[in-house]
């Protein structure tokens, strides 16, 4: 089992009010799923804006590990290494 790594979560502008204005959060997690679980524990308002009640990442939210979309890796089970950045970005859509 992979050991938890020290990673950074990048928070987009519209969600920074959920974490006292912080653009980046440091946390420890072995994969994306664990990172989201840690956000749920420590930053519930931010987590609620990224995931719905079922735990699914919201439809119009994209999560990248560094520059790779998590869906192109191993989804929520994408492993994280020390120094990685998990980037939360709203999808490009509109109307």
């Amino acid at each position: 089992m992979k050991r938890a790594a020290q990673i950074t979560v990048f928070v987009p502008g519209p969600l920074r009010e959920c974490c006292a204005g912080a653009a980046e959060l440091s946390l420890t997690a072995a994969n994306v799923r664990a990172a989201l679980a840690e956000l749920e524990r420590t930053r519930p308002a931010l987590h609620r804006s990224v995931c719905d009640e079922t735990g699914a990442v919201r439809r119009h939210i994209n999560l990248f590990v560094n520059e790779q979309h998590m869906r192109d890796c191993n989804g929520l089970d994408t492993p994280l290494s020390s120094g990685d950045t998990v980037v939360i970005l709203p999808a490009v859509s509109g109307g």
Binding site: P14, L15, R48, S49, V50, D52, E53, T54, G55, A56, R58, R59, H60, I61, P90, A91, S93
Partner: protein
């Protein structure tokens, strides 16, 4: 004594607030509030210190509830929005209805997928109301064109009436603990059985506080020419109940169409009711000529109100929460359109004027005197 009129206008691009003196001559517009995303429900809660609540349907970051304590000059998110329990399997898709409870900070909230939530702290925390949200019918309801939404909450002491599209009318007589489908006489045109136990596409329900037992319903009409199984279903779109919603009968005779979305009752006369008939196929103004229709005898006959409205080439829709009436001595009606116009009908709808003509598409209009 109320001396201000506060009008909330929920649109595709956020919430606007318009304010006027009680003369209602000029309205000042503020907004948009709420990140420029859709607002489907609002509440001007005039109990005690006035508060304005609005839903904010953020397609990116989920549902939020906005609250203002300064008559809509500023809004902040409440500490939490309604949310299903983690193991429920459902996820909140929209907030369709916000109504006050008995306590000053008590709120009820109808959501999509159809479920009911309750808050006792002004929207900072919410709990699922299981009597309807986990009703044995709940997993059998189907979404209508607007989604599977609980859009109407009408309270009458221990009675609570819910309108669900498409679930029908549900009635609680124990303050919201338990609910039963109560759709006798409420037709459906999209299923073989014209009068099913539940599953109707109710669009809106309204009542007058001084008329015990009287309810009006705008149901999904437009089925008079249906020729399939079960035969035509004329007049099922506009209904009335005189027994607390236990049974319903048509009051659509005399209207150009029994299809529409909102239904509104005069604040001082329970026999006066307003509807906005639409052409059922396009869901726009019949013949391109908008009109609000008023009955002064509980729906036995209807009169068209058009003075000041366009005479032609207007093909907008007024959505289910897009019309409201204030409570001044000579009340004014207000309706918002999917083309972004906000109209006022002074003197109970006798004279119409366009207050704002270029707002984003309007989902809901709520008014209160404060």
């Amino acid at each position: 004594m109320a001396n201000r009129i506060i009008l909330t206008i929920g649109t595709k691009k956020g919430l606007f607030v318009a304010e006027s003196s009680s003369a209602r001559e000029r309205f000042q517009l503020r907004g948009p509030f709420g990140s420029g995303v859709s607002v489907y429900s609002a509440l001007v809660d005039s109990r005690g210190t006035p508060r304005i609540y609005a839903s904010s349907c953020n397609p990116f970051f989920g549902m939020k509830v906005l609250r203002s304590t300064d008559l809509g000059r500023t809004f902040k998110q409440t500490k939490a929005a309604p949310a299903f329990p983690k193991d429920d399997g459902r996820a909140l898709a929209n907030i369709w209805s916000l109504v006050p409870g008995d306590g000053k900070k008590e709120l009820w909230c109808g959501v999509e997928p159809a479920a009911l939530f309750h808050s006792s702290d002004g929207g900072d925390s919410w709990e699922l109301v299981p009597g309807i949200s986990n009703h044995e019918h709940a997993r059998k309801w189907h979404p209508g064109n607007g989604g599977l939404c609980m859009h109407t909450i009408v309270r009458d002491g221990q009675r609570m009436h819910l309108g669900i599209s498409t679930g029908g009318h549900y009635l609680s007589e124990d303050g919201g603990q338990t609910f039963a489908a109560s759709n006798k006489g409420v037709g459906a045109g999209f299923v073989p059985d014209p009068y099913p136990e539940f599953g109707q596409c109710v669009h809106k329900i309204a009542r007058h506080k001084d008329a015990p037992g009287r309810l009006y319903m705008q149901n999904h009409g437009g089925w008079s020419e249906w020729s399939g199984p079960g035969g035509p279903r004329p007049g099922i779109g506009v209904l009335r109940s005189d027994d607390h919603g236990k049974s319903w009968h048509s009051i659509a005779k005399g209207l150009p169409s029994d299809f529409g979305f909102p239904i509104v009752v005069h604040p001082h006369d329970p026999d006066v009711v307003y509807v906005a008939p639409l052409e059922p196929m396009t869901r726009t103004c019949p013949g391109g000529a908008p009109a609000i229709w008023r009955s002064e005898n509980g729906g036995n006959s209807w009169r068209k109100l058009t003075k000041g409205l366009p005479k032609k080439e207007s093909f907008f829709t007024i959505l289910r929460d897009g019309m409201d009436v204030d409570e001044l001595k000579s009340p004014a009606l207000y309706f918002g359109t999917t083309t972004g116009q906000l109209w006022i009908g002074r003197d109970g709808g006798e004279q119409w004027d366009c207050l704002f003509d270029s707002l984003p598409p309007i989902h809901c209009v709520k008014v209160a005197a404060v």
